[in-house]
């Protein structure tokens, strides 16, 4: 049975609902290389280790089935690994380069991780010259995650990207707990979030996604505010504020004390947020938070997500995304789902 896997996220056409979560995937090159290696002869041999390798096997199939062929330098056809995705969401970009936070930046927690990267990025200009030309050849929609210290900086990033045809959509990060100015300060205040959204809306006709923080009393309030301000879609959730302590030094493990929790540990929080926001607004949602298997993807869609992003699970297993692309279609076929959009918001009362 063939399944229609395509969805539209606020005007962004995605051939399937899966994308990367910003900041866990850079611009995709590193993962593309590993996915490509998996489709080469080498993984074919590696799978010879036997039954234990079913993950790699299905991932191999996934990339083979989902990726697009393209001619390489030698004229032979090569696979474009990222093209198996509905979209690629790249690392948060700011107008000027940001150096990120000092000290330890990541650590594992029970079924999750804390990060305090601090939105390190080379700035929008470097992205346009170093990564975008490559992304433009990968046959996949590109969602650019945008950050700024001020509303003006967010706008400047969008102005710069408007002239780049390879950019498909914007995701405004108003929810990062790891920077002092900007970031989450916009996302926890409905009127500030609305103002920022309206300002960016005026600059672009491209799909505008606003990414919300769970670190608020009522996430639906912020969701309604950005909907009214002209957002095309909402993504949620960004990381949950948390901390870790080094018992030997008796100091916070992270220099800023606070860090962002992600991974399976936050999935129930994320699912609840998606469910509530879906009931509160009419916008399509990009759900994320702890997704690692097909059941997670389907749960997010049933709760109301139109598309689903995978972040931390890429670190656990770099083959997660291509595997999920294949397994999601298999799941739909075996459950008799003809069009994946049937799932969106399909949870009963």
């Amino acid at each position: 049975m063939s399944v229609n896997m395509a969805v539209s996220l606020g005007g962004l056409h995605m051939k399937n609902p899966l994308t990367s979560a910003s900041g866990t995937f850079a611009s995709g090159r590193e993962y593309a290389a590993i996915w490509a290696a998996a489709t080469g002869g080498s993984l074919g041999q590696a799978t010879a280790t036997g039954d234990a390798d079913t993950d790699a096997d299905s991932a191999l199939l996934a990339v083979g089935a989902g990726g697009s062929p393209a001619a390489d330098d030698t004229g032979q056809s090569a696979w474009l690994p990222l093209s198996c995705l509905g979209a690629v969401t790249v690392k948060g970009l700011s107008l000027n380069p940001w150096s990120g936070n000092n000290g330890i930046r990541v650590t594992e927690t029970a079924s999750g991780m804390l990060n305090s990267i601090g939105l390190q990025n080379p700035g929008v200009e470097a992205f346009c010259s170093a990564d975008l030309p490559w992304l433009a050849t990968q046959d996949v929609p590109v969602i650019v995650n945008v950050s700024g210290h001020t509303a003006r900086e967010y706008e400047a990033v969008i102005e710069r990207l408007e002239v780049e045809p390879a950019v498909s959509a914007y995701e405004l990060n108003v929810s990062c707990p790891n920077v002092d100015e900007g970031g989450m300060s916009f996302g926890i205040d409905p009127s500030a979030a609305a103002e920022l959204t309206a300002g960016c809306r005026a600059l672009s006709k491209r799909p505008l996604i606003v990414k919300l923080s769970p670190n608020v009393t009522d996430i639906t309030e912020v969701a309604r505010a950005v909907e009214a301000a002209g957002a095309d879609a909402i993504s949620l959730i960004n990381t949950v504020a948390g901390m870790a302590i080094d018992v030997r030094s008796r100091r916070p493990l992270f220099e800023r004390a606070v860090a962002g929790l992600s991974g399976p540990a936050i999935k129930p929080i994320a699912l609840w947020a998606v469910y509530r926001v879906h009931q509160a607004v009419g916008l399509p949602l990009l759900g994320m938070g702890g997704v690692r298997d097909v059941q997670d993807v389907v749960e997010f869609m049933l709760a109301g997500a139109c598309a689903v992003a995978v972040g931390t699970a890429n670190f656990s297993d770099p083959m997660t995304l291509p595997r999920l692309v294949a397994e999601l279609e298999d799941w739909c076929a075996s459950e008799g789902v003809k069009d994946i959009q049937e799932l969106i918001g399909g949870v009963g009362q």
Binding site: T24, I34, L43, T49, A52, G100, V106, M113, F315
Partner: protein, 283 residues
């Protein structure tokens, strides 16, 4: 770029304690991986499920090519049990499968003209240097220096005891012939004085530098040790490489989790390192 990084499941040939708090792990049939260089590392997933969602980085301490019925690369690691993840790893049994991502990182890059390298390791950081010592076919002599807490650690990490005569010889230069037919001199320091110099490997390094004109130093061990080694080397204008550690998530250069500061820029330990020119590291 070197060898392709592959994610695959590999089986545990052996996983056993070799000294107090120190374990040796041997993994087999990495048939997707063609070659590993000294200084490179791998990311090892600690079991299935979502208890441990981040892999742990470990330096490869040696690699051998298996032939016969199940050919492929076999790699060995030494690890110290320091927290929840390594404690979990210590409970993995031979025959189990683990997810491995690798090879990762740049590896050592000694100047091709190196004649008298000093390879100095502290604790488990020494594990890969024995192997690395085989990679100087054109050197006059290779010096290996281990600093460890006690005799059991030195024996476990070096495999030297069987090659030695009387134990006292640990503090004199012992001339031996390595596989590459380059004379290798081996030096030992222990914290408790059970073997070799009673004190730190850095103290012993300072003594050795009075006698030998090293033209390259490679250091792997605790950060304070590497910082001191780097300073000693720089004082004498000797090119020095260090293998750094940092908390990391992706291991492939995507997440910006493992940055360190260098004179040039902030660099990723996983993808730009873990081996760095010691002079460029902002200690």
């Amino acid at each position: 770029m070197g060898c392709m990084t592959v994610c695959s499941k590999v089986w545990v040939i052996d996983n056993e304690p070799v000294a107090d708090g120190l374990w040796r792990l041997t993994l087999g049939q990495l048939s997707g991986i063609e070659a590993v260089r000294p200084g490179q590392f791998i990311q090892l997933r600690l079991g299935e499920g979502s208890e441990h969602i981040l892999s742990r980085p470990f330096a490869v301490s040696s690699a051998t090519t298996l032939t016969g019925a199940s050919p492929g690369l076999s790699v060995t690691f030494f690890y110290q049990v320091v927290g929840r993840g390594t404690d979990r790893l210590a409970r993995v049994l031979p025959g189990e499968f683990l997810q491995l991502l690798g090879p990762l990182g740049n590896g050592w890059q000694p100047p091709p003209t190196t004649r008298r390298p000093l390879l100095i390791g502290g604790g488990v950081g020494f594990a890969q240097l024995n192997w690395y010592a085989d990679f100087f076919p054109d050197a006059e002599e290779v010096h290996l220096l281990i600093g460890a807490r006690n005799k059991a650690w030195v024996h476990a990490l070096t495999g030297w005891p069987s090659l030695y005569g009387p134990e006292e010889m640990h503090d004199v230069d012992v001339l031996l012939t390595s596989r590459a037919a380059v004379p290798t001199k081996r030096h030992t320091a222990t914290d408790n004085g059970e073997l070799g110099h009673h004190g730190t490997n850095v103290e012993l390094m300072a003594q050795l530098m009075e006698k030998t004109d090293f033209d390259y130093v490679a250091a792997c061990g605790p950060l304070p040790m590497m910082r001191q080694v780097a300073r000693l080397a720089q004082e004498r204008n000797i090119y020095c490489e260090v293998s750094l550690e940092s908390h990391m998530a992706c291991g492939i250069g995507a997440c910006m989790g493992c940055m360190i500061s260098t004179t040039a820029a902030a660099r990723r330990v996983c993808a730009d390192g873990p081996v760095f020119n010691a002079w460029e590291v902002l200690w």
